[in-house]
């Protein structure tokens, strides 16, 4: 059974995407992180299109490659929220199988990083405005600048493309995906692969402490050579940190 998506549904699905972007305030920051999982937003898209069960099944399939998704320091290497919403909508609309939906979802998810980068770049202007308000001690203005302009802008650049994509449907998206496949897609995923370095380096720069780079290197190499899962690494790391701290601060305080 194919579901024809009407304009209102398309708009609502756009909003589903908007709410799944890390930072939209309406459902809390933790809410974003729930909502951005394809398993969950597939379910919501399913409700909008009248088939939540099927939406959940498709969303779950799309979710698989994003199981270990992490966003650190504001880096988003790929966008599960876009993959989940558009992927599920198209799959329900075109009655496509979950596995085909997953295949289409991966390139779509990469496109999401573009939206993310644009919004994080534009937002820098609002913080500059806030600087002036801070100078004047005008906290009300800082607060308004913190919410209104960035969220209006984000709403526009996230809702519109998604609404169009799901309204014009699988053919339009397929065309886009085809146009991208091969070298362009490789390039996009290569970029997505190195962008987390920005977030991690920003976090790292924000840190102090003697031997910071040494311990960063140690954590990197231990993980690279042992394939330790991150929790195990952090227990070993805690042991090392305890030993270092005990010895380094010995007799100082």
């Amino acid at each position: 059974m194919e579901i024809a998506i009407n304009p209102i549904q398309a708009f609502l699905i756009g909003i589903v995407y908007y709410l799944g972007i890390d930072g939209t305030p309406w459902i809390t920051h933790l809410g974003n992180h729930t909502w951005l999982r394809p398993m969950f937003n597939g379910f919501i898209v399913g409700i909008i299109l009248g088939d939540p069960v099927q939406g959940t099944i498709i969303g779950a399939a799309i979710n698989l490659p994003y199981l270990a998704f992490i966003s650190a320091g504001g880096s988003v290497p790929m966008d599960p929220a876009l993959a989940g919403t558009v992927g599920t909508a198209l799959a329900l609309g075109a009655n496509v199988s979950p596995s085909v939906a997953t295949t289409m979802a991966i390139p779509i998810g990469l496109l999401g990083t573009i939206i993310w980068i644009v919004h994080m770049t534009v937002d820098t202007t609002f913080v500059h405005m806030a600087d002036k308000a801070a100078e004047e001690g005008d906290i009300r203005k800082v607060n308004i600048l913190h919410v209104a302009p960035p969220q209006i802008f984000l709403f526009i650049i996230s809702v519109i493309p998604v609404a169009f994509a799901v309204y014009f449907g699988v053919d339009a998206v397929q065309w886009l995906v085809d146009a991208l496949s091969g070298r362009p897609l490789d390039i996009l995923s290569a970029i997505g692969g190195i962008l987390p370095a920005l977030g991690i380096a920003m976090n790292l720069r924000a840190m102090n402490g003697s031997g910071k780079l040494i311990f960063f290197l140690l954590g990197f190499l231990l993980t690279a050579y042992s394939g330790l899962p991150i929790l195990a690494l952090s227990i070993f790391g805690a042991i090392i940190a305890w030993i270092w701290t005990t010895l380094d601060l010995k007799g100082e305080y």
Binding site: L30, R37, V127, E136, I200, A206, N208, G209, I230, A241
Partner: protein, 293 residues
């Protein structure tokens, strides 16, 4: 002796200032503003900076009043670069509130002390928090609920995931926030004289650095698909035959250190972003790099 005198002085000053005390309601309100709005204006230059102000808003208003010089100072203090993992890192905000409260009531706390604490803790807690939350808890919850979801089970799939994720994390982040505030209050004296704090800071910084290294190894994903076709039957894989023989992960490590270096050289994050995108596009365009899939 010296400490006793300090205490006396403080008490006097506090009396002079008529001792503005924050209510629990203020602290809780601030917590919710943080949880909802932390990243409303998330950006490459200062990241969560205005989110900090938005969250502290009820506190700062009560302590300093609108448009005063003190308010202006406070705003300029907190509009600086700040970024952490919002749940675990909330404890820093709790401590910050306590320090602002003491400061407003005359304790000898200056901007440097507050900023030292904030910037000292934000990095470690980002590394540790990302690991425990996004890197551990969410994958576990997903691995329990995803199988149900793929059977079309709405309740044990998406809904259970949402309830568990938000429930556990809200309880955690609320407690961590309040803990920060309480420790901050009790600890201001201690903080200023410095006994346990340096140890906690050093431990957190070291662990944070290790963990951030581990995150880099897992999430920066660059390999070289390039090969040298030396003859019809001899092919040299740059990744396996050369790079991996040198140092496993040498490409992601190199990219991360390059990025770090550029940021250190005072390049703006947006500039670095553009550099990374161009670098990635060019190298991938020539087939020199790709993802490990």
């Amino acid at each position: 002796m010296a400490e006793e005198k300090l205490n006396n002085e403080e008490i006097k000053k506090e009396e002079d200032n008529n001792n503005i005390v924050l209510s629990k309601k203020d602290i809780v309100k601030s917590f919710w503003r943080w949880r909802f709005f932390v990243q409303s204006n998330y950006n490459y230059e200062r990241l969560q900076s205005t989110g900090v102000i938005f969250s502290l808003s009820p506190v700062l208003k009560k302590l300093y009043g609108p448009k005063t010089d003190e308010m202006s100072e406070a705003l300029k203090r907190h509009i600086q670069f700040f970024n952490t993992e919002a749940a675990f890192g909330g404890t820093i905000l709790g401590m910050t509130i306590a320090m602002e409260e003491e400061k407003a009531n005359g304790a000898p706390i200056n901007t440097d002390t507050i900023n030292g604490l904030k910037t000292g803790m934000m990095g470690p807690l980002a590394g540790i928090g990302d690991t425990l939350w996004q890197g551990t808890l969410i994958p576990i919850l997903l691995s329990f609920t995803l199988p149900f979801a793929s059977q079309g089970n709405i309740v044990l799939g998406p809904i259970l995931f949402a309830v568990l994720h938000m429930g556990l994390m809200l309880v955690l982040s609320y407690n961590v926030w309040m803990f920060g505030y309480r420790r901050g209050r009790e600890g201001v004296q201690e903080l200023l004289s410095g006994s346990a704090l340096p140890k906690v800071m050093s431990f957190a910084q070291t662990l944070g650095a290790i963990v951030i290294g581990g995150l880099a190894a897992q999430f920066v994903d660059v390999v070289s698909p390039a090969t040298l076709n030396l003859s019809s039957d001899v092919t040299l894989s740059i990744q396996e035959d050369v790079l991996d023989e040198l140092v496993v992960g040498i490409l992601p490590l190199g990219i991360t250190l390059l990025t770090y270096y550029l940021l250190k050289k005072q390049f703006k994050p947006t500039t670095v972003l553009v550099i990374l995108i161009i670098l990635g596009a060019v190298l991938a365009g020539f087939g020199l790099i790709g993802t490990a899939d």
